[in-house]
């Protein structure tokens, strides 16, 4: 770092002395233009994706999509109500596991053991878990749940998603707790509250909006993921009957239907994309707007 700063004058004078200022200015403007052009270039694929998802997804959009089952191959009509249900159920299951676990661990890391080696290990492992490919969560749930119960199920899919979002929830909850001013805790201890009372009555309520932001981000992430549920929940043509049954989800429906040779199924895949993208975007906006953290 200091080397970059210390050999700076030599670089500067050896070069700038020779070139005319016109050339240097031209290069300056050229690079500015290039940088702006490259930045705007990223707008093209994004607009293309959003435009196509809306254009191809809108025509089929009606209440039938939400209330009917997918059609048999080659037939038209129907929707994917079961897939929407399945996605919601599995996201719910994943939250049921990961929210309590993530928040409890965050409380431990930040309130009970802050600064200890155990806390830094928890944080480090959570960091590593964020880097694990989502399909590995699926492989794990396949080994731990599908192979032991001998059944593809919503439970297995939910557990795979829970592992996927656990680090997100833990790390955002930890940041949320960190955002609560230390004076709040001192005041609580000052009036004679126990550590448990302080955390439960003072710190958690104060941190709740920011924790909810993390939870909504996790919902957005879990709803959009395909790989963890692909071979744990598999897919189903029917309505979900119990959490120990193979279950359809929006994302797997898109994957399965995208490669079918039937025009109607491909249209359904686009409509499912529209609904999925809307769902994910809504959760993201909700995370940022409604539960906006106070102490920033």
């Amino acid at each position: 770092m200091t080397s970059a700063a210390s050999n700076l004058p030599r670089n500067f004078f050896s070069d700038s002395g020779k070139k005319t200022s016109v050339l240097r200015l031209f290069r300056n403007h050229f690079l500015t233009g290039l940088c702006i052009a490259l930045s705007l270039l990223t707008l093209v694929p994004l607009f293309s994706i959003v435009f196509l998802v809306i254009q191809n997804g809108l025509p089929l959009l009606s209440e039938n999509l939400f209330t009917q089952l997918p059609p048999a191959p080659g037939l038209d009509g129907g929707g994917f109500g079961n897939a929407i249900m399945g996605t919601l159920v599995m996201v719910g299951i994943s939250l049921g596991f990961s929210v309590p676990l993530g928040i409890l661990a965050a409380i431990f890391v930040n309130e009970y053991a802050s600064g200890s080696w155990l806390a830094s290990i928890v944080r480090f492992v959570a960091k590593l878990l964020t880097g694990i490919p989502s399909i590995i969560c699926g492989v794990f749930a396949f080994a731990a749940v599908v192979m032991t119960t001998h059944k593809f199920s919503a439970l297995a899919g939910g557990i795979a998603l829970a592992i996927l979002i656990l680090p997100t929830i833990l790390l955002t909850a930890e940041q949320a707790l960190l955002g609560v001013p230390y004076a709040f805790r001192e005041a609580s201890f000052g009036v004679g509250a126990t550590p448990f009372q302080t955390i439960w009555r003072i710190v958690l309520p104060e941190a709740m909006p920011a924790i909810m932001t993390g939870v909504m981000l996790a919902v957005a992430r879990a709803a959009g993921e395909t790989a963890p549920v692909l071979f744990t929940a598999l897919f189903s043509q029917n309505w979900i009957k119990g959490i120990m049954e193979p279950t359809a989800s929006l994302s797997v429906l898109i994957y399965n239907f995208a490669s079918l040779p039937y025009a109607y199924h491909i249209k359904l895949a686009w409509s499912a994309s529209l609904i999925l993208v809307t769902l994910v975007t809504l959760s993201n906006i909700l995370a940022q707007v409604i539960f906006a953290p106070k102490h920033h």
């Binding site: 500067f12 300056n28 806390a119 590593l128 989502s134 592992i163 709803a223 999925l276």
Partner: protein
């Protein structure tokens, strides 16, 4: 107490994941040994499993994606950290890049099937006929190819690269910039000779972490890469990656094939963990280094 247990559970979770995969991979590991890594055949019907072509496909697609995404991501990071435009305009671009991160992988795959595959098919054929003598561009040109997957992967890792590069550019103390301007440097001389060298470790970390993300990315790749275990030099040929292999074969696998897939999953975990730890280590050193400046 419950908090303590939750923490212990999270620490053991990673070990449990790796352990569960290794236990299930054991039959394949003891049967194929390291020949699994160097084997070039993957045919479940004959019980022969080797992942070399898939490993090469994983490395090649991720590397190519990085090659495309790094200049683009760096340009956006510079755009966001310089004052070419007023803050609202920059915020729009930032929002766009963050939106790219929020689009589900499977939607990228769907879009890739109907937009990128036709494009690659059309221009790939032209490339192959004009430059087919270069091994990387030799024909026949397929739409489902390494190039298609890499193009879409580049879009998908762009947000990671942009976010980390941007924060390391922003962390460069303003006094260095002022010093450079005072010596008569133009804006871009300052960017290229002062700011980027100072932020270089952070940019390297963004590339490493982006590479890690690209290796683990599954659905879009599985839908676009063509899923072929044949070795080929050409970017226009179908290929495969570890994660796409898992996505395509797990649901229908049984017996030793499940074990072989678990072995492949184990290899993928080790590779991504290694890359991510390296990236985090570089990032951590960057933060320490820039903290001492200014």
């Amino acid at each position: 107490m419950a908090c303590f247990l939750a923490s212990i559970l999270i620490i053991t979770l990673l070990a449990f994941i790796i352990g569960e995969i290794l236990v299930n991979a054991w039959p394949a590991m003891s049967k194929f040994g390291l020949g699994f890594i160097s084997g070039i055949q993957w045919s479940p019907n004959r019980g022969v499993f080797g992942v070399l072509p898939v490993l090469i496909g994983t490395a090649a697609s991720s590397f190519l994606a990085l090659l495309l995404a790094l200049p683009l991501g760096l340009a956006i990071a510079i755009f966001l950290s310089e004052d070419f435009f007023p803050i609202p305009v920059r915020q729009v671009i930032r929002f766009v890049v963050e939106t790219l991160a929020a689009i589900p992988s499977v939607v990228y795959g769907l879009w890739g099937i109907f937009v990128v595959i036709p494009l690659v098919q059309q221009y790939g054929a032209v490339l192959a006929s004009k430059f087919g003598f270069i091994p990387f561009l030799s024909g026949p040109a397929y739409g489902n190819s390494l190039l298609t997957a890499s193009l879409v992967l580049a879009l998908m890792v762009l947000p990671t690269i942009t976010a980390i590069s941007r924060s390391s550019l922003v962390a460069v103390p303003y006094s260095l910039r002022e010093g450079s301007y005072a010596l008569g440097a133009t804006r871009w001389e300052t960017i290229l000779r002062v700011i980027i060298p100072t932020a270089a470790p952070g940019i390297v970390a963004s590339a490493i972490l982006g590479f890690g993300r690209a290796m683990g990315e599954t659905m879009a790749v599985a839908m676009l890469i063509g899923n072929s275990q044949r070795l080929s030099w050409s970017l226009l040929s179908p290929s495969n990656t570890l994660s796409a292999l898992l996505a395509n074969q797990f649901a229908e696998a049984d017996g030793i094939q499940v074990s072989a897939l678990m072995y492949a999953a184990g290899v993928l975990v080790m590779l991504t963990l290694g890359v991510n730890i390296a990236g985090e280590a570089v990032l951590r050193r960057t933060k320490k280094a820039t903290a001492g400046l200014g």
